[in-house]
Amino acid sequence: MISPRYAREIPQRYQLVAARCTSCGTIGFPPRRVCKHCRGRQFEPTKLDSDGKILTFTIIRVGADRFSKQTPYAVAVIELNDGTRLTAQVTDCELESLEIGQKVRLVFRKIQEDGKAGILCYGYKAICV
């Protein structure tokens, strides 16, 4: 990942900073430039809850290049306690024991490395609680 894009996404990846539409209150995550509900263009930052539950998940057995050494791993659609949904890797888990409805918490982990000499990219992953 190139540095400018990575730096731009730090608030959402590190601190779960979302955008709340000032017109209708809809929360967009990742932050959007246009509200998906009312098409408003004014937003204020809001931090998401880090606890939630798994809505659905899949096991990745053939990963993209930068994730190929981590296989097999789980990726889940997670609904946070504040209702926001996001996609995240589920880490530190026995894949066989994962279940829909499983309570999870988002934690700070290394997501990928830009090769052997490039930047390290951090962000959120989910752990079972």
């Binding site: 730090i10 608030p11 590190y14 601190q15 050494k69 981590q70 880490t91 530190d92 026995e94 934690v107 700070f108 982990r109 290394k110 997501i111 090769g115 052997k116 390290l120 951090y122 992953k125």
Partner: protein, 348 residues
């Protein structure tokens, strides 16, 4: 009153048993366990490093202190496994925890005492009145060469301490440092694994500096070992801290709660700080705690803490060390372990 207003620790869930490592190298597991007095060690996840461990430990410290992260004026992370050779680990941490950007950030390195060094500098800033709060962290994903004795102990984890003057949970009463040029353990620039001087790491290095700092701290404080409820020393293995305690006049009972090395291993810069966190988890108001770290090269930092009433309010606000040591463990075989520790050479 200056001291710890919040603390947190983090240990990864992955473990490898001494038997698993011994089997790989045809070594006598029982002799190794008896000699090192440890049975297993923590291993970082593939997505964990000193930065992620520091973030999770510091998150616990902020939860316990219940302060606005923006009020933290300095962040120091002591480690010998910073993920970047050039780019301070603290720069990632402050953005993850909402600290700064008006904050002083630096990286500390002094083998296994880099963590206590970070704590000492954070404490000194607050004591001088330069800032309201400062954060000192010791964390490592320690390296030990395959087949070396260090492979049985080098583990991963860390602890974070917020120093302040209001609602102090553990007042720092005295400090003392003891340092000399001692080539007992080192890693040259560009080398992947550290080297050590075998038995020279004992009396001329570890014991000389721990006992040197410890005796000076006792003299400075005019306290005797019997005055302390708890004591913790750097834990390269199970045996050394017990022997250091004996030489200084402490009993096994005083070392009991901080002696977490048999199940954790040696978290290098995170070793005595995580032991201190384990003690604070069970400490009561009025308890005196004696702590001496050790970093090869070599040096020791000593601290005397007095626990206050505030400890009762804060200790249950974040995960405790014993809970992380005992629960949710995922055991690895040696092949998985080499993958976690990046010991296998791969094509780009």
């Amino acid at each position: 009153m200056v001291g710890i207003v919040g603390y947190g620790a983090y240990l990864p869930r992955y473990r490898i048993k001494a038997e698993t490592i011994a089997r790989q190298w045809g070594a006598d597991a029982e002799a190794i366990k008896r000699g090192l007095q440890l049975t297993e060690k923590t291993v970082p996840g593939q997505d964990e490093d000193t930065i992620t461990i520091s973030v999770e430990a510091a998150r616990g410290a902020i939860q316990r202190a219940q302060i606005d992260p923006q009020e933290i004026g300095a962040v120091y992370i002591g480690s010998e496994s910073h993920p970047y050779a050039v780019k301070p680990s603290g720069t990632v941490l402050i953005d993850a925890l909402g600290i700064g950007p008006h904050v002083h950030v630096a990286t500390n390195e002094f083998a296994c005492k880099a963590g206590s060094e970070a704590m000492y500098v954070a404490y000194s800033h607050v004591k001088s009145g330069e800032m309201k709060y400062a954060l000192g962290i010791g964390a490592d994903t320690s390296q030990g060469a395959p087949g070396d004795a260090l492979e049985y102990s080098a583990s991963a984890g860390g602890a974070a301490f917020i120093m302040g003057t209001e609602r102090v949970a553990a007042e720092i009463l005295f400090t003392h440092s003891y340092t000399s040029d001692t080539p007992d353990f080192w890693r040259r620039e560009g080398e992947f694994y550290p080297r050590h001087a075998g038995r020279f790491t004992g009396d001329p290095a570890y014991f000389k500096h721990i006992v040197g700092a410890g005796q000076a701290l006792l003299e400075k404080s005019k306290l005797a070992p019997k005055d302390f409820t708890h004591a913790v020393f750097h834990m390269p293995n199970g045996k050394f801290p017990q022997e250091a305690g004996r030489r200084l006049g402490f009993t096994k009972q005083q070392l009991e709660f901080g002696w977490i090395v048999p199940l954790m291993g040696n978290t290098y810069s995170g070793s005595s700080p995580t032991g201190l966190a384990a003690i604070l988890d069970v400490a009561n108001p009025g308890d005196l705690i004696f702590m001496v770290s050790f970093g090869s090269g070599a040096g020791s930092d000593g601290f005397v803490y007095r626990v206050t009433e505030e400890i009762k309010a804060i200790k249950d606000r974040a995960p405790k060390v014993r809970s992380m040591l005992d629960n949710g463990k995922i055991y690895l075989d040696y092949g998985q372990y080499t993958k976690h520790r990046h010991k296998i050479k791969l094509n780009e």
